[in-house]
Symmetry: C2
Amino acid sequence: MKVRNNISNSGQVQVPTPTLRRLPGYLSYFKALKIGGVEQVSSGQIASVFKMDSTLVTKDLSYTGVKGRTKVGYNVEQLIETIVRFLDFNTRENAFLFGVGNLGRALINYQGLQHYGLNIVAGFDTDPGVINTQIRGVKIHALDDFRDLSIKTPARIGIITTPDGSAQEVADLAVAWGIKAIWNFTPQSIKVPENIIVENTSIYSDLAVILNKLNH
Amino acid sequence: MKVRNNISNSGQVQVPTPTLRRLPGYLSYFKALKIGGVEQVSSGQIASVFKMDSTLVTKDLSYTGVKGRTKVGYNVEQLIETIVRFLDFNTRENAFLFGVGNLGRALINYQGLQHYGLNIVAGFDTDPGVINTQIRGVKIHALDDFRDLSIKTPARIGIITTPDGSAQEVADLAVAWGIKAIWNFTPQSIKVPENIIVENTSIYSDLAVILNKLNH
DNA sequence: AATAAGATGTGAAATATATAACAACATAAT
DNA sequence: ATTATGTTGTTATATATTTCACATCTTATT
Ligand SMILES: NC(=O)c1ccc[n+]([C@@H]2O[C@H](COP(=O)([O-])OP(=O)(O)OC[C@H]3O[C@@H](n4cnc5c(N)ncnc54)[C@H](O)[C@@H]3O)[C@@H](O)[C@H]2O)c1
Ligand SMILES: NC(=O)c1ccc[n+]([C@@H]2O[C@H](COP(=O)([O-])OP(=O)(O)OC[C@H]3O[C@@H](n4cnc5c(N)ncnc54)[C@H](O)[C@@H]3O)[C@@H](O)[C@H]2O)c1
């Protein structure tokens, strides 16, 4: 009896995941405000931009420890600094990227990531036509080169953008090399040891939500 | 007083959003099972793959109307058909894509979307070097060409993959052309009329979750 | 100076989501 | 046939998240 898996919620999460997921959106808005020369912003303004309740905004912001002033609002500069620090977007976290195809290439080219704490230090691919090329200073390697690289520039994050079918084998490899967190862009679900972090980015989930809203 | 916005949750949502977001993941797994020749699968198996509670799996699946058989499990073929129909992944929904750069090009090249209900019928860009080229049969147009196109192949979905700064102006344009839903890949939050659907796909949210798990 | 008004911040209530408990049932083994 | 076992599906409970209510504070106005 009682066959059902009971995944214990080990790590006691202090900040709600929904909050964590909303914070980068606020941050991007605050950066735009700063560029526009705006120095103060109220929770009501923020709420109207994101179409949500303003108390939720204040709750979200309170987790980061930022303090607003009554009648004045929050200081934009301070918001940016606090959130960036809170989300660890100020640390340069090294990452390896596996599968330098359409999406992988786009991610390496994407300079935005560097301003959000992620530093792709190397790409890996099986295609001889891609190996030993460079994209924005990031060198693409054969899978065998890992040993040298993980010594020179160790990375804790592995980004998987290979074809669906290769996701599991690449994940196994990455884990064997000491990768601690896998960012999986394939729709394939992958199995990893207990202590390895996996985050799946599935655009199909977003698509499902869009189609549902459109049709119902 | 009572300045706080109270966004009424109009459309009475029958299926929880978390469920909606999990279903494509299941679907992808079931498709892999089918390829592997597996005909039946139990909620326990599914749960262990996705590291979740099996009752949640059955709850999620029950929303789609699919029926499992005691002691046997669910029929894989039937699961696929039911979920595809439930998520409207069987309908070909036309979409315009704005901003044929790194990410936009990847999305057009990505054939996966076609199997998930989305049909990108045209791209738009401002770069003369890109205009009038073709990617996988999808023609890239100047922004002015919209009138002809929206008559020939009307689209309800607009995908925005322009630089951050152009997101709002492109959104305004798209709405003016009759786009009903905007799929925004920029981190920029955009303002649209009440009746327009906006779905933001932010990889920064995923990144925030990863960094949080890694560091805390 | 006193008062009014607008905004934050916090604890309580409401809602949404996930987990647990259990009944019903199909299959396999005895 | 009968019993044991594994699995679905539903109802109840627990947890997580959001919304509400209100006290508190800051600035502007008279
Ligand atoms: N293209 C998109 O816009 C997009 C969007 C969302 C998700 N995805 C997913 O991302 C993944 C990649 O998509 P894509 O369009 O970039 O595919 P792609 O075919 O363009 O690129 C895949 C790359 O991986 C390489 N590769 C193959 N096997 C490998 C291995 N074992 N180790 C390392 N590299 C290997 C290939 O040589 C190729 O360069 C797919 O799973 C897809 O479902 C793509
Ligand atoms: N590259 C990625 O992997 C990635 C990942 C996540 C999010 N994003 C976001 O996607 C967006 C695009 O990123 P990218 O790397 O593809 O940028 P990019 O610069 O490679 O592409 C942008 C394209 O948009 C075109 N464009 C500019 N103004 C336009 C306008 N007004 N109308 C139509 N087209 C216009 C440009 O000519 C260019 O072709 C950015 O907001 C970025 O933050 C990118």
